[in-house]
Amino acid sequence: MLRYAASRLILVIPTVLGMVTIAFFTLRALPGDPAIAILGEFATEQALQDLRVALGLDQPLWVQFGRFVRGLVAGDLGRSAITRQPAMREVMSVLPPSLMLAGCSVLIAILAGLPIGMVSALRQGSWVDYLLMVVTISGISFPVFWIGLIMIVLFAHTIKLFPAVGAGSPGDLLSQAHAMVLPAIVLAAGGTAYIARLTRSAMLEILRQDYMLVAKAMGIRERRILWYGLRNALPPILGVIGVTFAVAIGNAILVEVVFSRPGLGSLIIKATFSRDYQLLQAGLLVLSISVVLVNLVLDLLYPLVDPRVRR
């Protein structure tokens, strides 16, 4: 058990290092000069040169990389080219609402996806199964921002249930929760469908097993048998929650734009259009590393649902 946890923890280090390397070199391989991007076309050569020295752009790439990694270890990802604030601080200030949104949507996806998949598997081939599978294939196939726009028209304009934009007034938890409902549901659509389909196929596999037939023959009540079945379906389901979270983080950018919510999505878009690569890089890294950490936590939870890992 401890060895398992340790091996998982150690695996995180090369992954994060690899991600940092890829993020650094992808964003450094940019065409054009960041100094010109910051100061504009009409800056004097002297000013450009000064800024390059200040940003360390005059150094060889590997020196820049070393400096970047050293800064990263200390939690310093450079300064935003536009606001001149530390990029890390800017990112951290908008991280909580984004993580909250993605977290809520994954929770909804689990709570809705599990029962949908169970019902589908138990009623395999019936019209209920058919209908649920049509709904879930839509959940995977429809663009999340389009679902968001439709939900806004339906539940914010036609029926005035939820606010169409914003994240509620600051300090007012109730209004924040109220504003979170619609975006979280929209963001959960894909995950719900994904988990429902996986639960269905996992349950169908389990229902065919001999031990289920034995349990039935022994006269164990159906509800109890179902509970055994669900417990056996949990490991593969836990396995995809990490993927669901990663997809939710990516899609959160789109949902935040649709609902005009503050968050990392809006920050990344802003950074993109103002060519603020430091900020973009910080946003990409912080979000990606948070996905790795969530996956680590899920890995550590694995022994709870799969006794084989416990040994």
Binding site: P14, T15, G18, M19, I22, A23, T26, L27, A29, L30, P31, L122, Q124, M133, I137, S138, I140, S141, F142, P143, V144, F145, W146, L149, I150, I152, V153, H157, L204, L207, R208, M212, L213, K216, E222, I225, L226, A246, V247, I249, G250, N251, I253, L254, V257, I268, I269, A271, T272, F273, Y277, L280, Q281, L284, L287, S288, V291, V292, N295
Partner: protein, 300 residues
């Protein structure tokens, strides 16, 4: 014996009858997927011929016209025909889907085969790289790439292909690893067949089906990702039409003139649903375990 003898004596059945005996035509999802995908491809190829209007011609006096006989899906804020814009926009989506599918299939198969067949350090390094790329949220990686490289269709394709190639590679590696220890591979080695020839003749044909399914799904994701990037203004730049930027153009008029965004979104939804159903259906019909699923379901 007698039944097989009579079957041999009978005239060989027509292609249609033979096709109907396969599991493919009976699979409703697969058939829906095939129809939607064929429709998607046809619309993209024939779109310019079918389009009743030029997708770029503006006519401000006829802006935001409702759907009617002349403008099937109405016009947008500049008076451009939405229906024609969608027909032309299909090309970008199809191009992205095909390119990403083909690139992720080719690169994924090569990387996956190399990792699975070589084993040892080659495998460890490649698997490490695959896992690092998989750890990035796909859409976020694509967005960062396009943000730095600039928004063009080529960059969108490259970005999404980078994000989805590892998915194909990891499946390919897993399949190759199940084939490698089999006896016919060992036998080929024993009679001195070169490794590349073994891969080409024995490993690839036996491992392609599941990988093609993953590539189909990555093509579906590619359509969604392209639409998402276009929606954010990072895809093909207006006025050139894509399904994603038609949704963006319709966004301010969502409540008053919903047909613009609705029809564009429905086009994306139909194309992606088609590709997903195609992938699912092929997987279902190819997998003998799923196909012959006997109903020992104790709850029925």
């Amino acid at each position: 014996m007698t039944t097989s003898a009579t079957a041999d004596a009978a005239p060989s059945p027509s292609l249609w009858i033979r096709l109907r005996r396969t599991p493919y035509l009976r699979h409703r999802g697969l058939m829906t997927g095939v129809v939607l995908t064929v429709l998607f491809v046809l619309v993209a190829l024939l779109g310019p011929l079918l389009a009743p209007h030029d997708p770029l011609t503006t006519n401000l006096r006829n802006a935001l016209a409702p759907p009617g006989a002349d403008y099937l899906l109405g016009t947008d804020r500049f008076g451009r025909d939405v229906f024609s814009r969608l027909l032309f926009g299909a090309r970008a989506s199809l191009l992205v889907a095909l390119s990403v599918g083909a690139i992720s299939l080719t690169c994924g198969v090569i990387i996956g085969t190399a990792a699975g067949f070589a084993g040892g350090w080659t495998d460890r390094i490649l698997l490490g790289l695959i896992n690092i790329l998989l750890a990035f949220p796909g859409f976020l990686l694509a967005l960062a790439f396009v943000a730095v490289r600039g928004s063009s269709l080529g960059n969108v394709i490259a970005a999404v292909a980078i994000a989805y190639t590892p998915r194909v590679a990891i499946v390919m590696r897993a399949v190759v690893m199940t084939i490698r220890p089999r006896q016919f591979i060992e036998a080929s080695y024993a009679i001195g067949v070169p490794t590349l020839r073994i891969v080409w003749k024995h490993v690839l044909p036996n491992s392609l089906p599941p990988v093609i399914v993953v590539a189909t799904v990555s093509a579906a994701f590619a359509v969604l990702a392209e639409a998402g990037l276009s929606f954010l203004g990072l895809g093909v730049q207006p006025p050139a039409p894509t399904w994603g930027n038609v949704i963006t153009e319709g966004r301010p008029f969502l409540v008053s003139h919903p047909w613009i965004s609705l029809s564009a979104g429905a086009s994306i939804a139909a194309a992606v649903t088609g590709l997903n159903l195609l992938g699912d259906g092929v997987r279902d019909t190819l997998d003998p375990f799923l196909r012959n699923q006997t109903s020992t379901n104790i709850f029925k």
